[in-house]
Amino acid sequence: MSQWLAMGGYGAYVWASFALTAAGLVWMSLAASRARRNWFRNEDEDQ
């Protein structure tokens, strides 16, 4: 397991890349869905 995590000495680069991409993709999807939901809520408050 620790050998796999080490990624042949490139672990820091590999895991940082995947973590960064995961953060980007999750934010991209969730922010878009949340924006749609929030629009109705905010519009309701503005009325």
């Binding site: 042949g8 680069y13 995947f18 999807s29 878009a32 109705f40 309701d44």
Partner: protein, 250 residues
């Protein structure tokens, strides 16, 4: 077929179409991403030259391919907005820009994380890297200009000009490794006819590519919906939808 397209171009039809499609596209995207990443990180063999560092390909290449794909889509939508003054084309173009910008930033950052162990440098002013950085600024330009003018239609048309003119950068990014001496490696996967990696490395890559495309499509659909709601806030269909949605919200 044309009738279907024509109907889809109307804001309420597009909104309902996006509402039906988005959850499936997003859900499938996350499932495929989990499969592709597990396959790529656990089961794909290490590269004979780059070792396990090559696994960065599973995040870097899909983000890079999608950044170019989204820019091309944005430029086509921009052209439709300029030529036919289609409201939906303006909305889709502006929805694509932040998604493309995120994927371009991911491309650049994961590329740096690949470059450091392989080239010994986080960044070099190489043609491919520089052109990708220009792509990031083009996306940023469309985002900024898209909301810069009070009249949303004038603002969108100004942004469309950047999108259309900037398309010249897409072939530069794609073919820079062929046109100039570059530190960046040539096309390995997306070269037509002869991919330069083995099947057991390529299959998870194609899965990751599809997953990223689906997640990008999901984000574009949702962002386009919000843009439509903002623009059509005073129309009857949005008022009816708002009443319906607020009844359903917790």
């Amino acid at each position: 077929m044309w009738t279907w397209f024509h109907r889809l171009a109307s804001p309420p039809s597009f909104f309902r179409f996006a509402d039906r499609l988005a959850p499936w596209v997003g859900g499938l995207g996350f499932v495929l991403l989990a499969i592709g990443w597990t396959w790529g990180l656990v089961y794909a063999p290490p590269d004979y030259q780059q070792g396990d560092a090559f696994r960065i390909i599973y995040v870097h290449v899909p983000a890079a391919a999608l950044s170019l794909g989204l820019y091309t889509g944005m430029a086509i939508a921009g052209a439709c907005a300029l030529i036919w003054r289609m409201k939906l084309a303006e909305v889709v173009m502006l929805a694509m820009a932040p998604v493309g910008m995120v994927l371009t930033a991911v491309t650049l950052l994961t590329g740096m994380l690949w470059g450091k162990p392989m080239w010994g440098a986080w960044w070099v002013w190489d043609a491919r890297l520089t052109a990708e950085l220009v792509l990031l600024f083009l996306f940023l330009g469309v985002i900024v200009l898209g909301d810069a003018i009070e009249d949303p239609r004038r603002s969108a048309r100004a942004a469309a000009w950047i999108a259309v003119v900037g398309i010249v950068n897409v072939p530069i990014v794609k073919f820079s490794v062929n046109w100039w001496n570059s530190l960046h490696q040539g096309a390995t996967v997306l070269s037509f006819g002869k991919p330069a990696i083995t099947v057991d490395m390529a299959i998870p890559l194609y899965i990751c590519l599809l997953a990223t495309a689906l997640l990008a499509a999901h984000a574009v659909l949702r962002r386009a919906q919000v843009r439509l709601l903002q623009r059509e806030a005073r129309t009857q269909w949005v008022k009816a939808l708002r009443a319906q949605e607020l009844g359903a919200l917790p």
